[in-house]
Symmetry: C2
């Protein structure tokens, strides 16, 4: 049986409802692991639920490459786009906002309100573009820690995230072990494979060789749209699975045979992917894409001495890592080896592998087994 | 044990040596399955070995998407690039040119001397570009059959090919069963999956959205080089395997850390792939890439009535289909299902699956087990 099958009615009633984002401004210099510095930073974030008096019920959710701070609820009647993990976060939902105070911020380097390459450098009055410092997952986590400080939270009840969010989750446990109560990392791993780097670099080349990229100095509304769309189309394929794509699209044709326009959309899957590429361009910045994919490629918990164990030896919180059988971008094996290292080190860690056909994106899909794992682990 | 391991010394001595290509010109109208027509066609080809008096020892080799007619030997001391299947074709080699007369032609639609979108339409004096008729694997095979006629060969001893060449091989058995003595199709299948179409369309979008494409009307030396390079980088990833890439490149870094040039080559795999993209541009035409990938996407032996059996029912020759365990572009399953249909139909067909880590490109790799299968089946 497939773990994503809806075997029971959805018992998780209730919705976050309307939410507003806010901006946290840190007005002091922020230093990057690379040695770079920016004079101040902003993180855009949303929260759901209420922080208790003890400040002990905060959960930090870390988003993936193309995600953002809008994790649950809707912004208004006019902007009814649900947050990217809306089914997971809400009153009575697996990440239960009637119990927990949930924080989700757009990452440092992002393009949805947090400081990133497209932000104006207050010292020059010009966008950073490629003057933005070299970015790592460590930097993202350090910036988030300042936001957590801002709420007066010493110790998070939990840190949770999938994909790039899973890497941030692991990094939290390395850089701030005393501040993590427990953690759940989904569809991630200790480092990118050569294949994952190869896909990312191909996407970057699509962007960089687009004449509108102009060494990163494009106007916000005149960026390398074609290159970014191609990068997204390709990446999107890697987020799905062959089985999932076959079931959803197969060889369905979009319309009659275009004998004149050879390279118009012919198959449904082409239409779907081209739309994904186009719509991504309207909401995402190309330089942020370059910076974030580089941060992912450089993330490597094996570190300089090639040992996961030495990276993870300081972890103290209990952890759950979840891999997905059809995820070929961040395959189960990469998730498992993190837990194997943790267990070798005598840590309280566990691994679950869900049989779902949605590929890497499985963690973004409604699935009762996933609900149960997360709900239960959070209240353990 | 891995089937590609060199367990015995290479016993296949001898080389094709120097070869010259020739051009076969068919000076009559050629009609495409789509209804299109060109007033004449040229196929560039090479041959190795000698056609016997009975004209019964000819083997046709069909090349893959980015291959060409230069299958074995070298052109001259100055042009010492070996043919793409040089290890397979030669005196004493698995496709033994001391016994067989081997023909390999650049496909119709190609860009290495055969008539394709970049060729001049004799009726207009201008390149066809997108006026070149819609192309299918059927058309490629029909053009090859004219070349086989040219040699006075009624019946080929064998037809052999991998990937797109495997599709042509299967198509030969459908369109000209009486002309095929036996056949070997490697790393192919009855049709593209949604994922394979998705990758191809992403590559096409990279080309088409490159401003230098200009609706296909670019000058030969000013084409969409960036788009074509990106398409090739992506496709090249799909020709390899995650395991193979990990073994070859892993996370090896090319040079020191480029703190200034954020998006220069950092990892070895990036350097390798960018080089693949760049060098492809110097030898391949973007419009041909569009036409050939479309022909691949449209190839579908399940046909309009969704039945492999009805497509294959006319096959008469004995056949060997070879899949490769690590091929995720044309997975073993797609190869197996062709043989299953043939067996269901009572045909003489067999399937072999080789455990090799080179992904889809495994059929292009030296491997004693592959040698033995091909050598033996040809002389069966």
């Amino acid at each position: 049986m497939n773990d994503s099958e809806q075997t029971t009615p959805n018992q998780y009633e209730g919705e976050v409802g309307f939410v507003e984002f806010e901006d946290f401004v840190y007005s002091k210099p922020f230093h990057f692991a690379s040695g770079g510095m920016i004079p101040e930073l902003t993180l855009r974030y949303e929260t759901y639920g209420h922080l208790n008096d003890e400040k002990s019920n905060a959960i930090l959710i870390c988003h993936a490459l193309s995600g953002d701070h809008h994790c649950a609820g809707v912004h208004s009647m006019d902007e009814r786009k649900q947050g990217w993990w809306n089914f997971m976060v809400g009153p009575g939902k697996p990440i239960d906002t009637s119990r927990y105070f949930v924080i989700c911020s757009n990452v440092l380097g992002g393009c949805q309100g947090s400081t990133g390459p497209g932000s104006v450098n207050p010292e020059t009055g010009q966008p950073y573009n490629l003057d933005f410092p070299k970015l790592t997952v460590q930097d993202m986590v350090k910036a988030q820690s300042l936001l957590v400080d801002h709420f007066g939270v010493d110790r998070l009840h939990a840190v949770i995230g999938g994909s790039m969010g899973g890497m941030q989750t692991l990094q939290w446990n390395i850089d701030f072990p005393e501040r993590v109560g427990r953690y759940i990392a989904l569809a991630c791993g200790a480092r990118h494979t050569a294949q994952a780097i190869a896909f990312n670099d191909t996407g970057r080349q699509a962007i960089i060789t687009d004449p509108n990229w102009m060494q990163g100095r494009y106007e916000p509304d005149a960026g390398p749209a074609h290159g970014l769309a191609v990068a997204r189309m390709m990446a999107h394929i890697t987020y799905l699975s062959d089985v999932g794509m076959e079931a959803k699209f197969g060889r369905k044709r979009r319309s009659g045979d275009q004998s004149k326009e050879h390279f118009d959309v012919e198959f449904e899957v082409e239409s779907y992917l081209r739309y994904q590429g186009q719509s991504f361009v309207t909401r995402f910045d190309a330089n942020t894409y370059l910076y974030l994919t580089k941060a992912l490629d450089r993330f490597d918990l094996f570190g300089e001495d090639k040992s996961l164990d030495s990276s993870l030896k300081g972890v103290t919180a209990p952890g759950l890592v979840i891999g997905f059988t059809s995820d070929w971008l961040y395959p189960p094996q990469g998730n498992r080896e993190v837990v194997e290292a943790l267990l070798r080190l005598g840590k309280d860690a566990t691994y679950a592998e869900l049989a779902m056909d949605f590929g890497h994106d499985s963690f973004l899909v409604r699935a009762p087994k996933l609900y149960d794992l997360i709900r239960t682990f959070l209240s353990r």
